[in-house]
Symmetry: C2
Subunit: 335 residues, 2 copies
């Protein structure tokens, strides 16, 4: 990811290991300030996870793997470490997978093996996202107008992104894509994070409120939609940020292709259909409080599901490290 | 409308004439404070219109008619008055209609006739909204869950509301309705105004982000949708707050009935189809600034259409003062 740091343009992931610890871009401070946080102790690393200073399932997986490996290097107890790291944000599946892989390596070849496995997971995550970019860029016409939702960018995945990878790749190929950035209430990951990533690389874009998606599609202003995924069930149903389902239905109604971009770690072989996935509900205050001001009467409750489920019938294709696949192709990845 | 004023419950419109002027609830201060503004001079009245202290097309029409009549009572020049009032918010059609009616009365029977016409317009607006409530309440099952968007309530229409009238009436009949209040980005008229009206009358409701509409419908949590309208074309197409079209498409996809509530003044006989209506675009800052804080990078532009157009084929029925009509019935109202 290219971004400006201390006045000069750098090209690096949004988190990376340094001597005895991890550095990462503090996502809470964006878009106002680009602050690099360094966490050396386990306590600092857990704090970064808990406070959403690092967020995005693949990025959390890499961060958890590195935190675990650094802890093992310091001689901490593996079980204590594991428990602490996995309970910091218990719902994401990527940290669990990463920590298990690092633990296996530790059992075979000690702290050194653990660290090289953690670095391998990081490299693999980056490389899968880059592959998503290569395959997905072919879907974007020159000057094409892509709509996305939430942040499925480098910040969420260490580098490149999932939904943003095809756009970033297209831009680097000189294809001049344009992005409709859906702001993504309540936490505004679209406005705060996706717009920041695009602004850093000077990729053309415009913010919109989430509910103008259908209007833009009906006016012929959208060539395709690409979103990320939090979990993909064994039948191809997709769970992603609330609002994804709305866009999928509106895209089909307006004959706009709708793609889901995902690394292989997002496939959930243990879940038969999207309807089996329990969707997280988050605090009402995310909706009723805005920058410290109440936006609604004090007695008004709010219902805040963080995710929704998009049935596979609305999905034109899946952009994966193995190529752009139809449903049949996707289902083969589970075997 | 019932609301708490200075510690006690009152039942009155949200604007009303007083000795030499107009009092109204300042909509900019809601939901935090219920402040009654009194405007006696033309300057104060224009300021109230311009700053959105009074908003909502039918409410603006009544306010404009009263402002005009008070000006005529003070002996001001009719043409100067008319020009000043109609240029305060030039796009709304209701102020134009109201001022023309009051002017006709003035020409026949002077300032007294003008004032009684202004009061008649106010009574007529309230009574049409009440009729919308009576007809529409029959659509709402006991304990029924109604989704709405923006504020088409008493605040926007002097009393009762359009979309909120059936809900308010159902509640007064003891039918215990429940309302999903879509917050309505960017200006949050749902959270700030609709939730306030419902909270005042202790009608059960819950706020949601706009993009969770489809999820709620797909989960069987919505019995019907009722929205207001800013303009209805001669073929039944409806222009309303951005996000209305999304809800209409999602409702049809999920077999949820979708109704539009409107007074007769919203019918636009001069426009053949919704596609002929030019939709207002508003400033980008409504999206990129939130309570004084930038939510996006400074260089990120935003596209902010204030309205969208819902083709008649998505609309189950029209809730009017003449009854709940299908498209054919609606089209007869134009004759």
């Amino acid at each position: 990811m290219r971004f400006t740091l201390d006045g000069r343009m750098v090209d690096r992931p949004c988190l990376w290991p340094v001597e005895g610890g991890i550095e990462h871009i503090d996502q809470r401070k964006l878009p106002g300030s680009t602050i690099i946080e360094r966490s050396k102790t386990l306590k600092e690393q857990l704090e970064a996870i808990r406070t959403l200073s690092v967020r995005g399932a693949p990025a959390l997986g890499v961060f958890a793997g590195l935190s675990f490996a650094f802890g093992l290097e310091r001689g901490s107890d593996p079980n204590d470490l594991k428990l602490a790291i996995l309970s910091a944000r218990p719902t994401a599946v990527d940290p669990r997978n990463a920590v298990c892989e690092v633990e296996d390596a530790f059992l075979i070849s000690g702290p050194k093996g653990a660290m090289s496995k953690a670095l391998e997971i990081m490299e693999r995550t980056i490389s899968q996202c880059r592959q998503i970019g290569e395959h997905g860029a072919r879907l974007v016409p020159d000057g094409g107008r892509v709509m996305t939702h939430c942040n499925a960018g480098a910040l969420a995945t260490v580098d490149w992104g999932t939904a943003l990878a095809p756009i970033r790749m297209k831009a680097r190929q000189g294809g001049d894509p344009f992005v409709w950035v859906s702001e993504t209430r309540p936490l505004l990951q679209g406005s705060r994070l996706t717009a920041w990533e695009l602004a850093q690389e000077r990729i053309r874009h415009s913010l919109i409120v989430d509910s103008s998606s259908g209007h833009l599609m009906s006016q012929g202003l959208v060539d395709l939609v690409i979103v990320g995924a939090d979990r993909v069930a064994r039948n191809g149903d997709v769970v992603n940020k609330i609002g994804t389902y709305d866009k999928a239905v509106l895209a089909r109604e307006n004959n706009v292709p709708f793609y889901v971009a995902l690394p292989l770690s997002t496939l959930d072989a243990d879940t038969a259909t999207g309807a089996d996935i329990v969707l997280e509900e988050r605090p009402a205050e995310e909706i009723t409080d805005m920058n410290g001001m109440a936006t609604a009467p004090e007695i008004s409750p709010a219902f805040n599901p963080a995710f929704d489920m998009t049935p596979h019938r609305y999905i034109t294709g899946y952009v994966t490290p193995r190529g752009v696949l139809d449903r049949e192709g996707l289902l083969e990845l589970f075997h």
